[in-house]
């Protein structure tokens, strides 16, 4: 026994020694010390420019990126600074790596311009891409900011802008965008609301998405066979014109279930995945915020109608009562890809998610596998989110990702206190370059997001360019090309390109959830109310009163939310 214990202790000691030695030997984790340009001692600085050359003036942005980067590079070089370091953080699904790599590519492209003009200055970018949602990344950003360990640039959902701008974490880039008016005008105007807060710009759109209604073609064919009703013919146009509303969708869903063509009429995302369901508010002509007062709005009639639709469908067994607690990988997606529902309220990203995740059980082999692009196209028809009542308009909803620049951007570089405005301009130029149309188009294609620039949409429609991309014959740095090679191979095909081009047109109907610090709280209450009406724990009326009471119970939220309208008395559904 004693021998054994001695062995254990000896083992632990050896382990500690090995780990200690390994730590001493490992490199590459220490943050680089600032360049040898301590502001205190000019003597330690690299040789200054020849005396004959007058020192350039502090640069100002002109809107011409080549001119601007050269001016900034020359100016910093004249200050004895020959390298500037930036960090970028981003989050998302594993195919959204260009959220950070585009900034790496931007540095590569700007460095090429500097080289061409013989400027002794270069930019290096360290990137950190995190798999998953942006909420945790936003919390990490806020925490890191306290110890000045935050990134200079972050790709994250626009919904964080309000809070971070109020906290002073973000750079106001309004004056820079004044100079880059043409650049700004190329973005879809409906998305610019996502980067504007209190009249100022705090970011640049990076990508967006739409949330279509997906219809199973095989279920629709079965309905046609059994009842003679052909629901899919011209459906997209009918929905676009507002001729087919949720009253009709209820009837279609009922047909699908009653004829035994599918187990469910409608399935949708669950839990806090509220943005899709928020579309009901807009579809019933409601609103979520008042631009005049800047307050959130609880539009009682629209919210009531939304909850009534959910409640009614759940009572009639068209939506599962426990929809909000279904499992993603075992129930939600497998049910959708195997045709157990007529309609799926989803997002554009599902189009490729079904092609990359093994949700489908092949009836012939019993194997679980992803759908092929051809199968996705064959089984799924997609439309806008239909209008609520006759006379209302169809909608879709976007939650764009945006590039935000930290208010201390460039902090890791020499003479920051003296030159912070120049470093911030440089960070802005990195974002401008990272938004190059080709980078935006590549990102859209490989991650199934929608482009945010018109020029990027044109590229996606350009067959020659897409063919080049499929062969990876596009102009990219070796590092970025290598990083996305496999994703390009798996995702670039005609079917997906056609889908993206078609889904992009939905952006004309898009709505954004409000940029308001209290909005996530309100959305959480909505999701809670949806769960209660689906389960039958509350009637729609009770659920609306529940939302009102929850809003009033929180003093901060009560101040931020305006409650408008009343429960409609004479409204009929279906």
């Amino acid at each position: 026994m004693a021998q054994r214990t001695s062995l254990v202790i000896a083992g632990i000691v050896i382990l500690l020694v090995v780990v200690g030695a390994a730590f001493l030997l490992r490199g590459g984790e220490k943050p680089a010390a600032p360049a040898e340009t301590s502001p205190a001692s000019p003597a330690t600085q690299p040789a200054a420019q020849p005396a004959a050359q007058a020192k350039p003036e502090k640069p100002r942005l002109t809107g011409n990126i080549e001119q601007d980067i050269v001016a900034i590079g020359r100016y910093l070089a004249s200050q004895g600074i020959h390298e500037a370091k930036y960090t970028v953080w981003g989050a998302g699904d594993p195919n959204s790596v260009l959220r950070t790599l585009a900034v790496v590519e931007a540095a590569y492209r700007l460095n090429k311009i500097l080289e061409k003009h013989g400027v002794d200055f270069k930019i290096t970018v360290e990137q950190k891409f995190k798999r998953g949602g942006g909420d945790q990344l936003a919390e990490d950003f806020a925490a890191a900011f306290q110890s000045q360990a935050n990134p200079d640039i972050m790709a994250n959902s626009y919904k964080h802008i309000a809070r971070f701008a109020d906290e002073g974490y973000l750079l106001d880039i309004t004056q820079y965008l004044e100079a880059y008016r043409d650049f700004l005008n190329d973005f879809y105007q409906s998305l610019l609301g996502a980067v504007r807060y209190k009249g100022k710009y705090y970011g640049v759109p990076q990508d967006t998405e739409a949330r279509p209604l997906y219809w199973r073609t095989d279920v629709a064919a079965c309905i046609k066979e059994k009842t003679g009703e052909d629901i899919l013919t011209g459906l997209a146009e009918k929905i676009q014109k507002g001729e087919v509303t949720w009253h009709d969708i209820y009837r279609y869903a009922k047909l699908a279930v009653e004829t035994g063509c599918s187990e469910w009429g409608v399935l949708h995302r669950k839990g806090s995945a509220h943005p899709d369901l928020i579309q009901f508010i807009y579809a019933f002509g409601g609103k979520l915020s008042d631009p005049k007062t800047g307050k959130l709005v609880l539009d009682v009639p629209a919210v009531y109608k939304w909850l009534y639709v959910e409640w009614k469908m759940a009572r009639d067994k068209l939506i599962p009562e426990d929809m909000m607690s279904w499992d993603w990988g075992k129930q939600i997606h497998p049910s959708t890809v195997s045709g157990k529902t007529l309609i799926w309220i989803g997002g554009t990203w599902h189009w490729t998610e079904w092609q990359t995740k093994p949700y489908y059980t092949d009836p012939k082999t019993g194997e679980q596998r992803p759908l092929t692009a051809e199968e996705v196209k064959k089984y799924f028809y997609y439309t806008l989110f239909a209008a609520g009542d006759p006379g209302d308009k169809p909608v879709t909803l976007s939650q764009p990702f945006v590039w935000m620049i930290a208010s201390n951007a460039g902090k890791d570089n020499p003479k920051y206190d003296e030159l912070h405005d120049v470093y911030q301009m440089l960070a802005f130029l990195l974002v401008v370059k990272a938004s190059d149309p080709d980078l935006n188009a590549i990102h859209s294609i490989i991650s199934a997001h929608l482009p945010v620039r018109k020029a990027a949409e044109q590229l996606i429609s350009d067959k020659t360019w897409v063919d080049k991309l499929a062969k990876l014959e596009v102009e990219l740095s070796p590092e970025v090309k290598n990083a996305i090679a496999d994703i390009v191979k798996a995702t670039v095909n005609e079917i997906n390109i056609e889908f993206l081009a078609s889904a992009s047109k939905m952006l004309a109907y898009t709505h954004l959830t409000p940029i308001h610090p209290q909005y996530p709280q309100l959305a959480k209450i909505f999701a809670d109310a949806v769960d209660k009406v689906l389960r039958g724990e509350m009637t729609p009326e009770e659920a609306v009163n529940y939302i009102i009471s929850k809003v009033k119970a929180d003093p901060e939220l009560a101040k931020a939310v305006e409650i408008v309208g009343e429960i409609p008395k004479d409204w009929q559904f279906p």
Binding site: P31, A33, D93, K130, R131, G132, D140, K330, T356
Partner: protein, 318 residues
Amino acid sequence: MGLRLPGIRRGGGAGEERLVFSDVETVPRRRLTLVLGLAVGLATVPLVMLYLLLVLSSFADRMLSGPDIFSARYSLENWRLLFEGRLEPAAGQLYTARDLAVIVLNTLLVAAGVTVIVVLTSVMAGYAFSRMRFRGRRRLMEFIILLHAFPGVALIIAVYAIYVWSLGLVPREAVTGYRFLYTILARAALEIPMSIWLMKGFFDRIPWEVEWSAMIDGASRLRVWWQIVLPQVKPGIAALAIFAFLAGWEDLIYVHVFLYTGGIKTLATFIEEVVGNIETAYLPIAAAAGTLYLLPTIVFFVATQKLLLQAMGGGVKG
């Protein structure tokens, strides 16, 4: 009418009657062992099943949840993807095998650091509380056990405030080292109160005469502690080291707040990233990452079961 007692039989011979007590523990022992074994077995079934499902899922083509263990297809694909840095079958590479090695190394470093600090302080403080009389000893011991009652989460805000303030005093080149040091100290501080009590228990069981005789022979207090007492509490030290190591290895909150926000990953934060957004996570690969994370724990427990049981019993063989 004779009195009948269980476990007592009349024996002897030649007219002599005497009571023979059989070992009162051994008669029902087998039955008791069976019942206890069954109870413990049943109680641990759900837990064992969960771990088994996790490990099996790491080789399967889906996240297993019960009956589907028979229909799933098994391969090393998830492990291959995990080490290649692909968190979904059709995704690009997010990290290299070298990055993963650095993550494991960071985790080891935190765990090892916590182990060293906890063992050193507890072995010394435990001995002092067990053998020395000083003013306020009892109060201090009560205070220490009170400290143990504080959950680490409750302390995090204050600890974080100090951390942010202190970071400003650290030169840039030393920031990474400081982050590790701070995390190790903060995490060790949570373990130390209970560890001191545990070690005190071990020291209490060593007869005082052993030390006494050594001191009569002229040994100093320190030498007695080092040469006479410590060898006798080896099982306790080993158990303590294991607990401390696992506390450092398993920590999520502290490493997230102090290391991850500075761009340093450990396995706990890595798994957080692998799962990412549960809606879109490819869970079989997350299961492989989880299994990788479990390995040291499993190895430790299997290798040191006896020591742990002794430590739990709070005793040593003198």
